[in-house]
């Protein structure tokens, strides 16, 4: 049955990603919490986003920023209570903001009671909830993901004297999805939150759910079987709810996770992200065009999720060696900026705080096919601290104002879960919400404006895309179209002014109306349409036949 249009809300969403811990501390314990987040919902409404993606907020030893979950159906006491969460959820919904939470189902923390039981003896009923082996030679050749910290995908458990399988950190044992009881338990977890009103889940580390001998243990058919089963239950009992896949793979491989529209509703387009940065640095549209040409069609009820930066390193797994070297040389010449196969930096510092480049990248994000995700703090140009270890440098407290603890918390500064960014360029005295609210021309005000413009038409969220290929490769131009509505997007990827001649013969007679200022440009005629663009400038034109 085709979903009702309202059920496709995720296609029209502009998602804001945050960690409760990082956003606002209401009780002065140095860590953000749900009450603090609730207090800031008006800010998010004002920004124009209409969905929040919350990173894991469950009880956890926090050895992987909450992705090591010790209890799936509670809230980490540092962030509040279940009641606080319910209050937040209702408040978000009342503002028209949907809430997407994380279900990390591939693995748990080694502190989770399921694992504690499983390891307690070989006869324990939960023994088969995890993947155990007497040797560490099974599934040989399967790649190690956290190459900087892990030597093997197997870890020795001294209690039950055997090895357990882990694709990520050794303190994150993988669940055994061949066990029906595990699948049932995962569904129970999802039901718990769905019943409360959560609008969707991001499923972490999806490709690794099932293991088989002689394979890469990634993207296996059995994994797709698990997903289909969950989706079927979701559609049956909770129509209109959404599943988002985290599968850091090539688009052709991720395509399988949409199934026939019966697996995930959305999936991240990982390879596009580094190529947007690469295109701007190279001043050449080729990386973007190339990856989008390799991106397969997806079912009508599905959507790509696109992003610039997130809580993890800017992953460079889905690039070639040549591209990775280029990205490192361009954006991470200091080795401290690199982690695993990626770059642990925020958007603004990567763009050397060049407002024009930050705007261009956001313009690309918001005008290309897919649901955009904005990482908290990037809307004001927050900086990072590459010396904080792991990826904590991009997870520092939100900078609300130039006062005590940046307005994030009333605690002693020493008690904050993380130091604030305090350098003269990106520090909270210079970069904060309050000061940017006061200026019509701040990055924050600009971001609101561009989101508002995007939200003014579904052509960006649902329209087709047709690339124009002007000879000037520094210009990336495309037409988005939905029904009769057409928008021409022209981006200058270069640091210098550019002229471009666009073949707009198909739109002869149309008038381009610049969408931000609503200015009319000359009518499209027989000749190639000549535009000049300043450095990193972009235009969005509504094409109208008047």
């Amino acid at each position: 049955m085709a979903p009702q249009d309202g059920n496709l809300w995720y296609k029209d969403a502009v998602i804001y990603q945050l960690h409760v811990r990082t956003f606002c501390d209401s009780d002065g314990n140095g860590s953000g919490d749900f009450r603090g987040l609730t207090n800031k919902l008006d800010y998010l409404k004002e920004l124009g986003v209409n969905a929040l993606w919350l990173l894991p907020f469950y009880p956890s030893p926090l050895r992987d920023d909450g992705y090591d979950i010790a209890d799936y159906t509670s809230v980490n006491p540092s962030y509040g209570t279940i009641e606080d969460f319910k209050t937040f959820l209702d408040a978000a919904h009342s503002r028209g903001i949907r809430v997407i939470t994380e279900v990390v189902v591939n693995h748990t923390s080694d502190q989770h009671p399921w694992f504690q039981e499983s390891r307690s003896s070989r006869d324990n009923p939960k023994r088969d909830w995890y993947v155990w082996s007497d040797t560490d030679t099974r599934y040989q050749g399967v790649r190690i993901i956290f190459v900087d910290t892990e030597m093997s995908n197997w870890a020795w458990d001294p209690i039950s004297k055997s090895y357990y399988w882990h694709r990520f950190f050794s303190h994150q044992p993988d669940l055994n999805f061949d066990n029906p009881a595990v699948r049932e338990a995962v569904w129970d977890v999802m039901r718990f939150w769905l019943d409360m009103g959560v609008d969707g889940f991001r499923l972490d580390a999806v490709p690794y759910l099932v293991e088989r001998d002689g394979t890469s243990c990634e993207n296996l058919p059995e994994t797709h079987g698990v997903i289909r089963e969950l989706r079927q239950r979701l559609d049956q009992h909770y129509p209109g709810k959404m599943l988002l896949a985290e599968a850091n793979q090539w688009p052709a491989d991720v395509r399988a996770y949409f199934g026939e529209g019966d697996e995930f509703h959305m999936a991240f387009h990982f390879p596009l992200m580094p190529r947007m940065f690469m295109a701007v640095k190279l001043e050449d549209r080729k990386p973007i065009i190339e990856i989008l040409e390799q991106t397969p069609q997806i079912p009508e009820n599905c959507q790509w999720c696109i992003f610039l930066r997130n809580h993890d390193e800017l992953t460079l797994e889905m690039v070639t060696d040549i591209e990775r070297d280029y990205m490192y040389d361009s954006f991470a010449n200091d080795k401290a900026m690199r982690i695993n196969l990626g770059i642990r930096r925020r958007l603004a510092p990567m763009m050397e705080n060049d407002r024009r480049r930050i705007e261009l990248l956001n313009g690309l994000l918001l005008s290309m096919p897919g649901t955009p995700i904005i990482y908290y703090g990037d809307e004001i140009g927050m900086g990072d601290n590459i010396y904080l270890g792991d990826r904590n440098g991009v997870r520092t407290p939100m900078q609300w104002n130039g006062g005590w603890n940046a307005g994030f918390s009333s605690s002693d500064p020493e008690r904050l879960y993380s130091p604030l960014i305090s350098n003269p360029v990106y520090g909270y005295q210079a970069v904060n919400v309050d000061s940017q609210r006061r200026s019509e021309h701040s990055l924050l005000s600009w971001t609101k404006s561009v989101i508002r413009t995007r939200n003014s038409s579904k052509v960006f969220s649902r329209g087709s895309i047709e690339f124009l290929n002007p000879l000037n490769h520094r210009v990336l131009a495309y037409v988005r179209q939905l029904g009769e509505e057409k928008v021409l997007v022209v981006n200058n990827l270069a640091s210098s002014a550019q002229a471009v001649e666009l073949n707009l013969q198909a739109y002869k007679g149309y008038i381009p109306i610049e969408m931000f200022g609503r200015n009319l440009f000359p009518r499209i005629g027989d000749l190639p349409y000549l535009l000049t663009l300043g450095p990193y400038q972009f235009y969005w034109f509504r094409l109208r036949r008047i």
């Binding site: 090539w250 190279l282 050449d284 190339e290 591209e323 280029y326 000037n472 490769h473 001649e501």
Partner: protein
């Protein structure tokens, strides 16, 4: 009246395309004329080289077609269409532009080169190379070998070096190389070649010179470019390419080849007189890869016919040769023309003296310059026949040693050239 703008008025469409390409690091040009059998491979080799060796650089391929009537242009345009959307991981980071245009109705290497230099100027290309669409085995390494020294190592002119058969390239081995080396003092072995590389600085220097209407560089502008580099004190080098496979078909006409190359060399002697007259000896230049690579091959058939043509030429052109050569040299040539074919030897000293007298006669304008050049053809045949006899059993090393010896003879006799050159007619 303002000077005509090459890209603005004569080739506006090319100008428009180039302006859209914008600033470029590397430009490789491929002049073509009815090369449908080879053009695809050549363009692919350039693309492959860009992808393999210059992944981060801004690059362009410039195809200048002299009005092909076959599918040459169509093939290049079709390749453009196929270029976008390549396989994951094998493409260079940037767009590889391929610009194609018709520049003339008949092939003219000088006109093509002028357009290449002007294009390079507009695009501010840091290094350029020209490759021939007639060569059937251009590969990606060739392109890199021609571009790298100019792009990364501050050389201004990059000449190619090829693996040659024992009897291949004898005009260069016995005349063009030793004479140009002795005259200009720079040991570029393949100054007359369809492939070469150059820097932006040399491109700008050459572009600004008023030579483009001269008939003498119409077919072989590359040697003029090399000599311009030497005379300007630019760094020249050689890059080894490997074997060069010429297209199948009839061998190029010797008269035309001599007219193009020797005519060009003599013209360059005049043009660069102030540079070479006072120089002596020669300098080795940097060579990337093997300096010479000779391989055994079968001698050409009908070598006796070559001798017959020499002998009849000396007889038929007696009055012309008398105007060009000194009486002593002319007498000596007539003497050897009377020898039995098996005992025939031209001899390096006589060969050098003959050439120098021809150059001086060309300079003095004792007759129409084309006639001077054409009168050299039978004498070159004599030298060729002499080479075939002398080197029939020589190893590649022995041939190389003889070439070096001939070069020294040219250098030793250079004062004689100067003397003849300055002599009043």
């Amino acid at each position: 009246m303002p000077e005509e703008s090459l890209l603005g008025e004569r080739y506006p469409e090319l100008g428009r395309q180039l302006m859209s390409v914008g600033l470029t690091d590397l430009l490789v040009a491929v002049p073509s004329f009815n090369n449908e059998a080879t053009i695809e491979r050549t363009v692919q080799a350039i693309e492959e080289s860009y992808q393999r060796n210059f992944v981060r650089d801004r690059v362009v391929i410039l195809n200048l077609d002299a009005g092909s009537t076959d599918r040459t242009t169509e093939i290049v345009l079709n390749m453009n269409g196929r270029r976008s959307g390549g396989q994951r991981g094998i493409m260079s980071l940037r767009t590889v532009h391929c610009v194609t245009t018709q520049y003339a109705k008949v092939p003219s290497q000088s006109e093509a080169l002028q357009l290449i230099l002007t294009s390079a100027d507009l695009l501010e290309a840091k290094a350029c190379a020209v490759v021939s669409a007639t060569t059937t085995n251009v590969d990606a390494n060739w392109i890199a070998n021609l571009l790298r020294p100019a792009y990364k190592q501050e050389f201004q002119f990059v000449a190619p070096l090829y693996t040659r058969g024992k009897y291949q390239g004898l005009l260069a081995r016995t005349l063009l190389y030793p004479m140009s080396r002795a005259v200009f003092g720079c040991r570029i072995r393949e100054m007359y070649s369809d492939e070469w590389g150059f820097s932006r600085q040399l491109a700008l220097d050459c572009e600004s010179q008023n030579v483009w209407k001269n008939e003498e560089i119409r077919a072989r502008p590359e040697a003029w470019m090399a000599i311009t580099a030497m005379a300007s004190g630019y760094k020249c080098c050689q890059s080894f390419m490997g074997p060069k496979v010429a297209p199948s078909g009839p061998a190029p006409d010797l008269v035309e080849a001599i007219r193009q190359t020797v005519g060009n060399l003599f013209w360059c002697l005049e043009k660069f007189e102030s540079f070479w007259v006072g120089r002596s000896g020669s300098d080795a230049i940097t060579t990337f890869g093997s300096e010479h690579d000779l391989i055994e091959e079968e001698p050409p058939a009908n070598s006796e016919k070559i001798f017959d043509l020499f002998r009849s030429g000396v007889e038929e052109l007696e009055s012309i040769l008398a105007s060009i050569l000194t009486p002593e040299t002319h007498a000596r040539i007539k003497e050897i023309a009377a020898l039995d074919a098996a005992k025939f030897r031209f001899g390096p000293a006589l060969w050098v003296r003959t050439l120098y007298e021809f150059a001086a006669a060309y300079h003095r304008g004792v007759m129409a310059r084309n006639h001077v050049i054409q009168a050299l053809v039978p004498l070159y045949r004599g030298q060729l026949y002499s080479f075939l006899l002398e080197q029939a059993n020589s190893s590649p090393d022995e041939i190389e040693a003889d070439t070096e010896s001939l070069c020294r003879e040219f250098e030793n006799q250079k004062p004689y050239l100067v003397e003849q050159w300055k002599a009043k007619s």
